[in-house]
């Protein structure tokens, strides 16, 4: 299945792109947001340091790492926020 990954702030700088399309091979178990993150962290090792501090969202709603994703989902990874 194909998903869109959105990255913000320094995560975007590390990956060099605000948006990535990724194909995920269907595994024995359902694919989660965490699976997408781990695949990304393999591609961009600098991301690994954010494992404990990121938040994630699916289709513009906050979602946990164990959230099961579906074909066409937009998955976003958010470093610690600093608005205001």
């Amino acid at each position: 299945m194909r998903v869109t990954v959105r990255l913000f702030a320094r995560l975007r700088d590390i990956a060099g792109a605000a948006e990535l399309a990724r194909d995920l091979a269907p595994g024995a178990q359902a694919t989660t947001v965490g699976d997408v993150w781990r695949q990304l962290a393999k591609e961009f090792p600098e991301l690994a340091g954010y494992e404990r501090s990121i938040s994630s969202a699916v289709n513009a709603d906050y979602a946990r790492m164990d959230h099961v994703i579906r074909d066409g989902d937009e998955i976003a990874f958010l470093p610690p926020v600093s608005g205001g």
Partner: protein, 164 residues
């Protein structure tokens, strides 16, 4: 054209417009409120010892708007008589410009102060917005709180700071 209560955009913020959106909203019945409290966040020329030149704000806009709606709903739950308007600016901001404008109205001033303060604390906790600081000698993404709207401890801390 009516001004929305909750908004995110690239244009300069206007406190009168934010407060006006709230007073014009149907949720505000004429004569019911005794207090309006506003907060304006401004870009400072210094931060932890660095001389700041300007900032760039970035947001995950649809989620940021939902975060603002969530904050308004939390306020409606905690202070039922208080109502909120909140505009956040993104893009490049110069020193002294406003990054966020908040207005809270209520029959009584205690609730308006608490709701306004709570709103800015929650924005900093859960709104997917990031500040890129350009200072003399470099630039850095500011990273504050790990956003988790369901974190009850963070919410309690925002209530504590709001002196609720």
């Amino acid at each position: 054209m009516t001004t929305p209560l909750l908004a995110i955009g690239r244009g300069p913020l206007d406190l009168e417009r934010v407060a006006g959106a709230l007073s014009a909203d149907p949720s505000t019945r004429p004569g019911q409120d005794g207090a309006v409290v506003t907060f304006l966040g401004l870009v400072r020329n210094h931060n932890v010892g660095r001389r700041v030149r300007h900032l760039e704000y970035e947001a995950y806009e649809p989620l940021a708007l939902k975060a603002f709606e969530r904050i308004a709903a939390e306020i409606a739950e905690r202070w039922p008589s208080a109502r909120l308007a909140l505009h956040h600016r993104i893009g490049r901001l110069e020193i002294g410009e406003a990054s966020v404008a908040i207005a809270a109205r209520s029959p009584h001033r205690g609730d308006a102060f608490a709701a306004c303060r709570y709103a800015i604390e929650r924005v900093k906790q859960i709104a997917p917005i990031w500040k890129h600081e350009y200072f003399e000698g470099g630039d850095v993404w500011i990273e504050g709180a790990t956003a988790d709207p369901d974190d009850a401890r963070a919410r309690a801390e925002a209530e504590r700071v709001a002196c609720a």
